[in-house]
Symmetry: C2
Subunit: 124 residues, 2 copies
DNA sequence: CTCTGTATTAAAGTTTACTCAAAGTTTAGT
DNA sequence: ACTAAACTTTGAGTAAACTTTAATACAGAG
């Protein structure tokens, strides 16, 4: 079991954010010490790994919360969960292709301006 | 020369947003008709292309405005502009690598849950 | 002459994802 | 037992990038 600070350093999320995620239903059933302090399990950490993965690839927190909620309802929601993940995966692939095109454009610009810079510095 | 609506359909930005960008200094010196209507040139469209490219790859509008401002100051700012673009390019590449790792994780999850779904549907 | 589109400014509202403050409680170390 | 550090809660505040509203007025087409 890990304290909130340990989870902060493991995940890079702030304690504020961890509590916020819990309040928003992204992470549920985090156990507590006798005094009421949060105690995160390894399973919680795995969930956080998935949450960060989805969040950092652009899924809104609401949709992640929905996924978590479905997971809690057991196998009958497997189809919907697979659907959600597949949709997200497709969108991510499109976005990555878009990013690649933008990267190419930026690379072109960098090269263009670098050449222009060398030219300009000759004239000094 | 293009009207604001033509530029909307060409870029996918709203008229509000185009005026907003102008106010924020992202697009400057847009010319006007005798009646005061905006008339966008091909050069303006190219600028908008770059603006969207930078924006959609995560550059904050403020930084884009800074870049535009530098461009207006001429060749003496070439070095700084190249630096800005190169920095952005490096960040973008890192982000794309991160996305690839996340994509792999999601693909793994999709496969895992798909298998679980087939298993579950057998039991029905 | 009317209708639709566009113009202005300025301010308020929206959404997402946090982030902070206050005030009290629990834990760990000595 | 004492104390400092860590933790709790609730509710308010923040930032970015728009989006909307409002009030008023000019432009160009039919």
């Amino acid at each position: 079991m890990y304290s909130i600070q340990e989870v902060c350093s493991k995940t890079g999320l702030s304690a504020h954010t961890l509590r916020y995620y819990e309040k928003e239903g992204l992470l549920t059933n985090v156990s507590r010490s006798s005094g009421g302090f949060r105690q995160y399990s390894d399973e919680d950490l795995e969930w956080l790994g998935l949450i960060c993965c989805l969040k950092n690839t652009g899924m809104p927190l609401q949709e992640i919360a929905r996924f978590v909620q479905l997971a809690h309802q057991g196998n009958s929601t497997l189809r919907e969960r697979v659907g959600l993940l597949k949709d997200h995966r497709e969108k991510l692939i499109s976005r990555m292709e878009e990013m690649q095109r933008y990267l190419d454009k930026i690379t072109w610009k960098v090269d263009f301006f670098s050449a222009k810079l060398r030219e300009y510095e000759q004239t000094l």
